[in-house]
């Protein structure tokens, strides 16, 4: 076989019904880049419309891409694609996890794992380089994710990495995760593994990923990237004034400064000035614990963790001795919504409880995160807490729960902010105990089950974006129509940071608008925060670019929580980044020459195929009406203190209008060449992307727009 670069060249296929293990070739899917793109192709080819998430016929695909394992900064991501249980039509969707699983899989010689069928008894998958076996997991079944990983490593050796489900996934709780390492979760697909009785995948790789280009060129490109990379979410401005920095912004995640420590390290490690020219301080820039949990978290911080080959460490790793009071180990880690999701269940906040005083919030967060991470419960991007609050406020629980069950729930703890409520809460959800546990079914399911109507979907505090049952995730509050558009296409929260890693950089808006002009053709692609203007074509171009880059990153696989490098901290570069870096790394890694434009076109092909799968699954080409519509709170004008409406597109409000968003969607569809009326891919657009077979299939089903 000819030498393959970047890719490992092999896809592992496992049929749990028959026990058959086989090998497929990666490069026959190369038009779809890798990871999410290739997974969409496999889902299109092999999973029939009408298949449900928990059916044996559903497939779950663990995907890496050609940059994973090469050492490209921030390239440790695993993409997981399957049908999503929380989607009302079980739409295809992707979840992602960081950590070290993906690189280990590449070094074992596999680009992807495609799992289908359903085992008769619990099993786990053991991958040691080319040797793959299906192992008995009956003894693992019932264990939490931490113990499961330890058990896998006890069989395979300490070097092994594992991805596993907890009790929530086993019990097919819709809101469940697949998790690896200390704190890396892919939310939404845990139940799919559970339905297949697949408890875990262990992998150990002693091979390598070959790089096509000259090693000196590769090292130079890496050096360049390291010279422009920022802090978490590519924030390039420090929180506090620094001698090297022209700007500072209190809301930045570049929190490092003299006098700020990893306080529980022994001895404590000072984050320091972090001059960007000092490459040995890049990993100290983001002291995320104080950002996520407040200044009191500094003394609990052991270090910052993260993923393979990423110099930006965004996971706070804490020692919270108070956890031992609850029979938990004192070490707990996570980032962003990994903390705030469980915390959000405590919708009245966490108050002083059990004598923890001013540290109650941190202890409460640590309890919630420990429980969610070990049981493997997903928060649906913090929606589970908002759903709990809505149902509490509206008396839903009193209405739908049996009286004895209602009486057994320690509501008083929830109301007064005692975080030990979480112990009871997660036990009910993970083990599907009682009617209450259906809160873990997800928003669309509880709306149906508990009769939640328009008031639920249109509640502004509820933040539900569409009736698909998922919430905002950098939506209209992030770049006006750009963020709003981005949120309309996935079958779950958008998980898109292509725009955030630019407009969240904390650079002054004047500089951001200049850069937007260079990338998207006009500074009008970007509005200042809280000062929105009506839709224009440049915003559509920005949104399309963000959507393409997201699926590109999930295909390469690099982290869309850092990439693209649109901006930098470098004043000498005018704070410009380099949006062509993905193509440069791709070309050097694989030996397949691709320009930035060509790679974006390949990403558009992948995204259009995802769109086509959605059409076929819904059985309706009118996605504008049936899929992309937004809940009404988004387009409802705010009111001032006197109750008077604040007109949209005036300073101080971020609300959209129905007419403007309809125009925005039309413009976005146009960017991809889709039908402007329905938002469905047309025959011409599918053929343009090299998807003529897809067009034929949709035509046979009468699902091409007329």
């Amino acid at each position: 076989m000819a030498q393959i670069f970047g890719y490992s060249g092999k896809i592992l296929r496992v049929d749990l019904t028959t026990g058959k293990i086989s090998t497929d070739e990666t490069l026959k899917y190369k038009d779809f880049i890798g990871g999410e793109g290739m997974s969409m192709k496999i889902m299109w080819d092999e999973v029939d419309p009408g298949t449900k998430a928990y059916d044996a016929e559903n497939k779950i695909i663990f995907g890496t891409g050609p940059l994973c394992g090469t050492g490209v900064p921030c390239s440790g991501r695993t993409n997981i694609t399957s049908l999503l249980p929380t989607s009302p039509f079980n739409g295809v969707s992707s979840s992602h996890m960081g950590g070290y699983f993906a690189t280990e899989l590449k070094y074992a010689g596999w680009d992807m794992i495609v799992v289908e069928g359903k085992a008769a008894n619990p099993v786990w998958l053991r991958i040691e380089d080319e040797k793959v076996t299906i192992e008995d997991a009956r003894w693992m079944w019932g264990k939490g994710i931490f113990d499961t990983q330890a058990m896998v490593a006890s069989f395979m050796g300490k070097e092994a990495q594992a991805a596993a489900i907890g009790q929530a996934g086993e019990n097919m709780v819709n809101l469940s995760v697949i998790r690896t390492g200390a704190s890396h979760s892919a939310g939404g697909h845990g139940g799919v593994m559970g339905s297949k009785k697949l408890k875990a995948i262990g992998v150990r790789g002693t091979g390598s990923v070959k790089i096509a280009g000259d090693r000196k060129d590769w090292m130079e490109l890496d050096k360049f990237m390291m010279s422009i990379i920022g802090a978490n979410n590519q924030m390039v401005v420090p929180t506090t004034p620094q001698p090297w920095a022209e700007f500072s912004d209190k809301s930045s995640r570049w929190t490092a400064r003299k006098g700020l420590f990893w306080g529980a390290a022994n001895p404590p490690v000072e984050t320091g000035e972090c001059n960007p020219k000092d490459m040995q301080s890049v990993g100290l820039r983001t002291q995320k614990a104080i950002f996520d949990l407040g200044p009191g978290a500094e003394k609990y911080t052991v270090r910052m963790g993260g993923c393979s080959h990423c110099p930006i460490r965004c996971h706070s790793q804490l020692k919270v001795p108070q956890l031992e009071k609850y029979g938990m180990d004192p070490y707990v880690a996570n980032t962003c919504v990994g903390w705030s999701g469980p915390r959000g269940v405590m919708f009245n906040g966490i108050k002083d409880f059990d004598g923890h005083g001013e540290d109650s919030n941190i202890v409460g967060n640590a309890i919630g995160t420990t429980l969610a991470d070990d049981y493997g419960v997903w928060c649906n991007y913090a929606q589970i807490g908002r759903d709990l609050k809505y149902c509490w406020d509206k008396g839903v629980f009193k209405r739908v729960l049996p009286a004895d069950e209602y009486a057994s729930i320690p509501w008083e703890k929830l109301v007064k902010g005692d975080a030990t409520f979480l112990i009871d809460f997660y036990d009910r959800v993970a083990f599907k105990k009682g009617e209450f546990s259906h809160i873990g079914d997800g928003s669309a399911a509880i709306a149906l089950r508990w009769g939640l109507g328009d008031d639920y979907w249109n509640d502004k505090n509820g933040k539900l974006w569409t009736r698909g049952g998922y919430p905002v995730h950098h939506s209209n509050e992030a770049g006006a129509q750009v963020g709003a558009l981005i949120s309309c296409f996935s079958n779950r929260d958008a998980q898109n940071h292509s725009h955030m890693n630019f407009i969240g950089s904390k650079l002054p808006i004047k500089i951001q608008k200049e850069i937007a002009g260079e990338i998207f053709g006009s500074p009008d692609a970007l509005d200042p925060p809280n000062d929105y203007k009506p839709m224009n074509t440049f915003k559509a171009r920005f949104a399309a670019w963000a959507l393409k880059r997201s699926i590109l990153h999930n295909s390469l696989t690099v982290c869309n929580w850092m990439w693209p490098m649109s901006v930098s901290h470098d004043k000498e570069r005018g704070y410009r980044g380099d949006t062509g870096l993905e193509a440069k790394f791709f070309s050097l890694a694989t030996g397949i020459k691709m320009t930035e434009k060509e790679l974006d076109e390949a990403a558009a092909r992948c995204f259009t195929l995802f769109r086509a799968i959605t059409v076929r699954q819904m059985g309706d080409a009118d996605l504008r009406a049936g899929h992309d519509h937004m809940n009404k709170w988004i387009t409802k004008a705010d009111k001032d203190k006197e109750g008077k409406e604040i007109p949209q597109f005036t300073p101080g409000t971020i609300q959209m209008t129905e007419e403007d968003m309809a125009l925005a969607q039309t413009m976005l569809y146009r960017e991809f060449g889709w039908d402007e009326k329905t938002g469905a891919p047309t025959r011409a657009s599918l053929e343009m992307y090299g998807l003529a077979g897809v067009a034929e299939d949709l035509a046979r089903r009468k699902l091409l727009p007329s």
Partner: protein, 231 residues
Amino acid sequence: MSDSTEKREGEGLLGKQTSRRDFLKYAGGGLAGALAMITLGCATTVRTREGRELRVWATPAGALVHDPNRCVGCKRCEVACTVRNDGKASAHISRVKVSRNLNFGVKGVSSAYAKADGQLGNFRIVAETCRQCEKPACGNACPTGAIHADRKTGARVVDARKCVGCGACQTACPWHIATLDRETMISTKCTTCDGDPVCAKACPTGALKLYPIAEAEKLLWGADVVSGATA
């Protein structure tokens, strides 16, 4: 490539091994020539007045030391190492060993894993580095003399042209730092990258540093130890 002009083939399996200090104590005949070899940086075998064979190693200039307190486990050191030295990305053959201890520490999985070293325990990350030993077990075990002291740095390096892929070095090293690349069947071990190690340059927190050998020995072995690999 070894610069030794004296006996090399199979020398690691034969006579007693020694360091330069031992050599100066014991060596008799051929002293001037042997000293010249050591100064240039090499490994050589000489015979004492009593007829004993001594394997003599030049003193290395420095060695890498890892600080578990600062390490964030990104593994950029590992991949920088193998890209520079092997033209490919790998964890297993990296001369800096982070991956193998990442989740469960040096000692591996135990029932008390949640409080032990590693990302699934107390988060402490203990990497293992080549100590450029005074009496390198890897070099002394090599049956072909492929491992020698680099002329410039004194680092114990592998001559790929002489390596037969037997894995004796990997077995002999108490920390199993030398690693056989199963794709090339050639052993890999730390060269210190000609005294400018890319792993240290790639480390985003300054957890990996090249120290002068005397200082490195203190940090790796002595009262000033910081390396968790020693503990």
